[in-house]
Amino acid sequence: MEIFLQQIVNGLVVGSVYALVALGYTMVYGILGLINFAHGDLVMVGALTALQTMMFLMGVAPGMSPIAMLTLSLLVAVPVCMLLAFTMERLAYRPLRNAPRLAPLITAIGVSFLLQTLAMIIWGRNYHTFPQLISTTPIQPIEGVFITPIQITIIIVSALMMAALVLLVTKTKLGRAMRATAENHRVAALMGVDTNMIIALTFVIGAALAAVAGVMFASNYGIAHYGMGFMPGLKAFTAAVLGGIGNLGGAMLGGVVLGLVESFGAGYIEHLTFGFLNSSYQDIFAFIILGLVLIFRPTGLLGERVSDRA
């Protein structure tokens, strides 16, 4: 029972990070029908930029409080990622908007590898220790179940950001323009929506979420390196598909479900396969889920879109 509860806690923490990243995927997919492979790498850029900022701050003002330092580094990392996403959209994706659909997909893979390479050039290939500014000493709310303050922060921050995003999309004028563009570009443009700007903004908002997710992801594990974004990116995409791509609620639900499946899978796989497989197989769950969802329920848990878009 304690293991069960513990896995729920772990699953929720990882799941909420996946959900944040998945939102970016799902928004871009909803509006352009493009899998932005490079979205996962924005997570990495966010984390490493924040790390760089923290290093700088520690040098300049060693006595600064951890919360202030974290906030300041987020204030640097988020705009950097937003700018990067804006540039990406403008230079790589916009010219290909009317190209055959294979072209933007291949470009997206290229952009993803380009970001990783650039990060490798700037920050090297090593794993960097990410300062754990929020305590990682576990507390026990229930006997035998451990949760760290950073994990609580992750859950709260993700929940707040998701709520803000939902409000933005459902209540504001900008959100309405986004939904209209996702529905139909040309009609939206005829109604006076600057669709180019809306698409760029979608990328930028997604990037902001990814940057925050990156910082939280790195502070949870205490490490950061150039390749750290790719796998979570793929998993976030899986989460988006699982929830029903193009659907904000679906992305959040998918993220949490995927996080839970993964942590239960990693926790119980050894018993289920009589010790033949172990927790090093953790990464296969996302891909298996992805395959199963696409085969049996291509619309995902909450989605209505058809999967046959190609």
Binding site: I35, L96, P100, I109, S112, F113, I284, I295, R309, A310
Partner: protein
């Protein structure tokens, strides 16, 4: 051959006959020229031929049938590991190449069908990401199947694979012609691989103009219409996956036995992307494109490796970008810029029904 000859700059269109002889001369003479610069360059050429085989196989799947496969390297891995299991001290089996090669081709084809069946309904980007997942799953298993029963030897990989023996003739030994004159084993491998590539080219050319090839083209250009005129798209897709995989498997065997060593590291996502970039860069759906793409993108990093390090040392005093970084940079830029500037590739496919310009003009977006 014709496609390749036509692609020769300045000569191909004007005098295809001469261009053809030129291509043949280059193919035969390349290792002799490379040898003048050192043995490593012959090795680079050997690897380039392996990449050509891989690119030709992936081109069947992506270029001919229009199925974007990002897990292609998994089939390469199946081939290489089959060779490692059947012909190495690891399980102490030493089967001859004539058994290993067909078996590996068979296993790879089976893997192709295993992947193909569940994803038959998927197209485009969904297909891409599921195949990517398949490749990753295969890699995770290769990496971890050393416990509790040691099958793949985990991340360490499997050592000392048996070399290729053709009719009692060991390709890994230098061929002693006379007392002083010996043909280096790298040359033997080169010509053996070249024979495989030429065989594949002839096979693929026949395939392209066959019913199957035309059915693939129809399916790629418009799946619904293809179905409507009676093409069994399910079988055609499975055939594309399994045939492409067979090529991957065969090149995997060649790679494993040539290198004498296999480990999961050689079969990462990066390699899948690299092969895809070769196909895209050269021109999808086009034999010459796949070959030219494979040669350029496998040789260029090696050339950079030998140029960039000394140049950087001379200019900056130390190495800023190491060769592996340069390779990644090159591949990613090739993908992005190619799509932006020349989406049909270096050598656009010139079959009437597959020309990207015709499709664009008709407003077909797939």
């Amino acid at each position: 051959m014709n496609e390749l000859a036509l692609a020769v700059p300045w000569l191909g269109k004007r005098n295809p006959q001469a261009a053809r002889w030129l291509v043949i001369a280059i193919a035969i003479g390349a290792p002799l020229v490379a040898m003048m610069f050192g043995r490593t360059w012959v090795r680079v050429l050997d690897f380039a031929l392996l990449y050509i085989l891989l690119a030709l196989g992936l081109n069947l799947v992506v270029g001919f049938a229009g199925l974007l496969d990002l897990g292609y390297i998994a089939f390469y891995a199946v081939g290489a590991y089959t060779a490692a299991f059947l012909a190495s001290p690891h399980f102490d089996l030493h089967m001859p190449i004539w058994i290993v090669l067909p078996l590996a081709a068979f296993f790879a084809a089976m893997a192709g069908i295993t992947l193909g069946f569940p994803v038959l309904r998927l197209r485009g980007d969904y297909l891409a990401i599921v195949t990517l997942g398949f490749g990753e799953i295969v890699r995770i298993f290769m990496n971890n199947l050393n416990y509790p029963i040691n099958i793949t030897n985990g991340p360490q990989g499997i050592n000392s694979l048996d070399p290729i023996m053709l009719f009692g003739w060991d390709l890994s030994r230098n061929l002693q012609v006379t007392e002083e004159l010996a043909v280096n084993s790298l040359f033997l491998y080169y010509y053996f691989f070249l024979a495989c590539v030429v065989g594949s080219i002839i096979f693929i050319q026949r395939l392209q103009i066959s019913r199957v090839g035309r059915a693939w083209a129809a399916m790629r250009d418009d799946e619904l219409a293809a179905k409507a005129i009676g093409i069994n798209t399910r079988n055609m897709k499975l055939l594309a996956f399994s045939l492409g995989a067979t090529f991957g498997g065969v090149s995997g065997v060649l790679f494993g036995t040539f290198q004498g060593f296999v480990s999961p590291e050689s079969f990462s996502l990066m390699e899948s992307i690299a092969v895809l970039t070769m196909v895209v860069f050269g021109g999808m759906g086009n034999i010459a494109g796949a070959i030219v793409g494979a040669i350029i993108l496998s040789a260029l990093p090696e050339i950079l490796r030998h140029l960039a390090v000394p140049v950087q040392q001379a200019v900056f005093g130390h190495v800023l970008l190491d060769p592996e970084v340069l390779r990644m940079l090159l591949l990613s830029l090739a993908m992005i810029l190619m799509m932006l500037l020349r989406p049909a590739g270096l050598i656009p496919a010139n079959a009437k029904y597959s020309h990207i310009r015709h499709l664009k003009a008709k407003g077909v977006t797939e």
